[in-house]
Amino acid sequence: MDAGTFADARLELALPLPALVALLVAGVLAALAAGGYLGRPRRPLLAVLRGVLAALLVLALADPVLVLPAPDAAAGPVAVLLDDSLSMGIADGAGGETRAVAAWSRFAPGEGPLMVELESRFPVQHLRFAAHPRPAGSEPPRADGAVSDPLGALLETGAGGGLSGVVLVSDGGQVSGRDAADAIARLRAAGVAVHAVGVGSGRPAPDVSLSVVQAPAVALVGDTLDLRVSVAGAGHGGETVGVTARDGGTLAGEAAVVLPAAGAAAAATVQVRLDEPGLRRIQVHAAPPGRDIVAGNDAAEVVVWVREQPVEVLHFEGEPRFEVKFVRRALTGDPALSLASLVRTGDNRFLRLGARDPRELADGFPDTAETLFRYHVLVLGSVEAAALTEAQLALVEAFVSRRGGSLLLLGGRNALSEGGHGATVLAHLSPVRLEPPGAFRAAVTATLTREGRAHPVTRDLEGRLATLPALAVVNPLRGPKPGARVLLQGDPGPGAGADPLTLLAWHRYGAGRVAVLPARDTWRWRMHADVPVDDRTHELLWRRLLRWLAREVPDPVGVTVHPAVAAPGQTVTVVARVRGPDFQPLPDARPEAALMTPLGDIHRRPMAARPGADAAHAATFTMAWPGLHPVEITAGEGEAAVAGRGAVLVTAAGEEFARAGLDAAFLERIARETGGSYRRLEDAAGIAERVAATLPPGEAWRRVELWNLPVLLLAVLALACAEWWLRRRRRLP
């Protein structure tokens, strides 16, 4: 027990102070009187001895208690959790020091007034954490400064047993996506208050940070994808930042963004060209225009699965049309699109083009879900209603709504209303209201709508469209349904009414998409004399359109991974929704998840059904190695076998730097909900007092009874003996 301990001690008595003083006076006087010292000034030493003796006895009778801070008795230890994740290396301290240095200078064991005060009153456990708490100094800093996990782990590991409190020194990095609510609830239940000390600035400056807001998970070979990124800059307002995207080190796209003032974020779209199949790691990087104190948040990474196999497109025409030829030519050489064309050339005669095996489409248009749902996109051309049975029309509806396929309706003399589809399910599927058959329009000039200028299928075509010839429209459509997006519209020419015709529109229908392109002869955009022979607008439009329609069409097994970007040591959950070849849910499927590590090891897990979820199954993996981890899900056997795939990207920094500023709100929330306190590092003085104040009464202090102290007895005996000896020596009675 050191001096510091007594500095905080206080004395408690059974009697009020005035009563004690009165008793002391009375007792001392009574003792002096009994010793015959009153009125005899020549015996002062004896009187003092007797008076002190009496005073001590009176004090002992007053039951003095010394109340001391309780360093190791009733109060348990205090855990000081020091965040040493990578974000603590950000040098945004006032003097240019890193957050780790600033925190360490105040909370290192035995260093500084804060720790001296804390250690004087509590036994202290010093722990550092990245993902999990560990003894200070045991390991180098690690990624994934997820605050909620070490707090929960503290209770699990036993280190938290009997804790008086937790002092959490952190920048509040909470990047794992795991909810802190669970850890907070467990701390609250254990009666452990968290006293959070925030380190760092809310918005480090100067700094440029980049995050990927939206990225497709699946793409086709040769696709140009839109990566939506957000670029924020503190201290760089008005400056231009270059953003690049690389696929395996190869430049795949770039953009420039002007940063707004006051650290606000600016959105940008980076168009990324993907030419290699497989799981691709796309690194997006923002080049800071000047000094940048947080290099770790300049880049982000996403994984895109570029399909190895081409997607399947079925084009069905009820009559021979040049559109068949020119669409096939437009797709020739496209490695991502496999086009099968079925043309009814005459009565009960069909021409099959692009079929992969002798059985495919041998019986005409598919009449089972298994045979139709193998395709990703269905193009219906000039096919009259009578050419399809009710069952086939119902399959077309299910192809879109249940299978999630894309349907493209073309114009033609037997298409849409002109083909009698005003009374079939196609009228419901169409994004544009099917009007009664209208007048033939021989020359409709296409123009982009505002939405079309931004859409990936039609953007940057405005200049080209202006030079392209007019198209013939057999099926004039004008009224897009609510929710439909019109990308191209047509000027029908003089005398045809003020409203433009719809030339390309789409909308969502169930799990899929439906688009309508009611022009009869887009091939004129390739063949017409006004079109230079080397012009590829027709090819470009068709490839873009079919790729866009096919890109998001799901596979029977839908796979999602949470989180998709993880840190070493983090646990990820793989969820699979399993459907059969007919895309009906298979709740009784027993899928297996296989995760391949960058070292080539394969970890297999049976997936457990999720109660209440629609054929969803889940498995968890704890990620050990940085790098890309493909995940493959398989279910069923033989012809009923289905498969899906996903991926986990494990990076050293995870997404820790994505929000590099001090997350004071999160730390305040932990403190508030556990009954603790929150201070910034600069204002952390009095931390011991705040810890003590949150302890239950009686647990922070110990009471030392003084009346029975041996030293008191010895003092009484010594005083009595001294008085007796002096009186004997002076021959007093």
Binding site: G318, E319, P320, R321, F322, V324, K325, F326, R328, R329, T332, G333, S341, V343, R344, T345, G346, D347, R349, L351, L353, R413, F440, A442, A472, R520, D521, W523, R524, R526, M527, H528, A529, D530, V531, V533
Partner: protein, 255 residues
């Protein structure tokens, strides 16, 4: 139609051609199609060389327009093609040619392309047009045609089309190539003209292996179309000519 039926027959045909061609051209001038149909049987109008026995004037118009009309009747009757029911003759260098991806040209033994024709034809075929060549016979006619096409595609050879090519099976399964005689030789005897003893179907392919030009050499499909309604014209030849012609159309619209 060729000239192998003899001098008098040839002169009669030449006279008929000379009389009919201007009428056909005049009829063509009056026709402005609103492109309401999917398919137009388009006949190519071209210049022909002068002199010698091939000096036939408007050689492009041989069998025109009856052959065209009759072929279209059969095409509409036998297939689902939405075909314009009448003729559609257009000069090779005319920009409108690019509205019609199917082109029929015959009697090319005396074909003489202008520079404008050469460019127009090259662009037409490169853009996706399909040309069927018919009714020219013998070595001399071949040399002329080959030379003229060499101006259009100097880098492309004219090669035989194998019998397993889709063009022979697009609608009908055509398993052998018959020599279709002109109407004057259809009644019996030799079916060839000049030294064109063996009928050939040859073609010019594009870089992706698709036929751009289909050449019927030493045969006369047009006459079979034109005279199919004649009791004297053998059904065997007309049937073959229609089957082959329909295959050409279906192929041209699909590949």
């Amino acid at each position: 139609m060729g000239t192998g039926a003899g001098r008098w027959g040839a002169m009669a045909v030449a006279l008929a051609g000379a009389l009919l061609a201007p009428l056909a051209a005049a009829d063509h001038e009056r026709t402005v199609h609103p492109l309401t149909h999917e398919f137009y049987f388009t006949r190519g109008m071209y210049s022909a060389g002068g002199g010698g026995s091939d000096d036939w004037g408007a050689r492009w118009a041989v069998d025109y327009p009856k052959a065209d009309h009759q072929f279209l009747i059969a095409l509409k009757r036998l297939t689902g093609v939405d075909a314009y029911p009448s003729d559609n003759a257009i000069a090779l260098a005319e920009a409108r040619l690019r509205d019609f991806p199917f082109l029929y040209v015959l009697e090319v033994g005396s074909l003489l392309l202008t520079d404008a024709d050469v460019k127009a034809l090259r662009d037409y075929l490169a853009a996706g047009g399909f040309m069927v060549v018919d009714d020219f016979w013998g070595t001399a006619a071949w040399r002329n045609f080959e030379a003229e096409m060499g101006r259009v595609f100097p880098e492309r050879a004219i090669v035989d089309v194998p019998m397993d090519h889709p063009v022979f099976h697009a609608y009908y399964d055509v398993r052998e190539i018959l020599q279709v005689p002109n109407v004057y030789q259809a009644g019996g005897g030799p079916t060839h003209e000049y030294d064109g003893y063996v009928p050939r179907v040859r073609g010019i392919f594009d870089d992706d292996g698709r036929l751009m030009v289909l050449v019927n050499w030493n045969t006369d499909l047009g006459d079979a179309w034109e005279w199919a309604d004649s009791p004297d014209y053998p059904l065997r030849f007309s049937t073959f000519a229609y089957e082959l012609g329909i295959n050409f159309v279906i192929y041209a619209m699909s590949y």
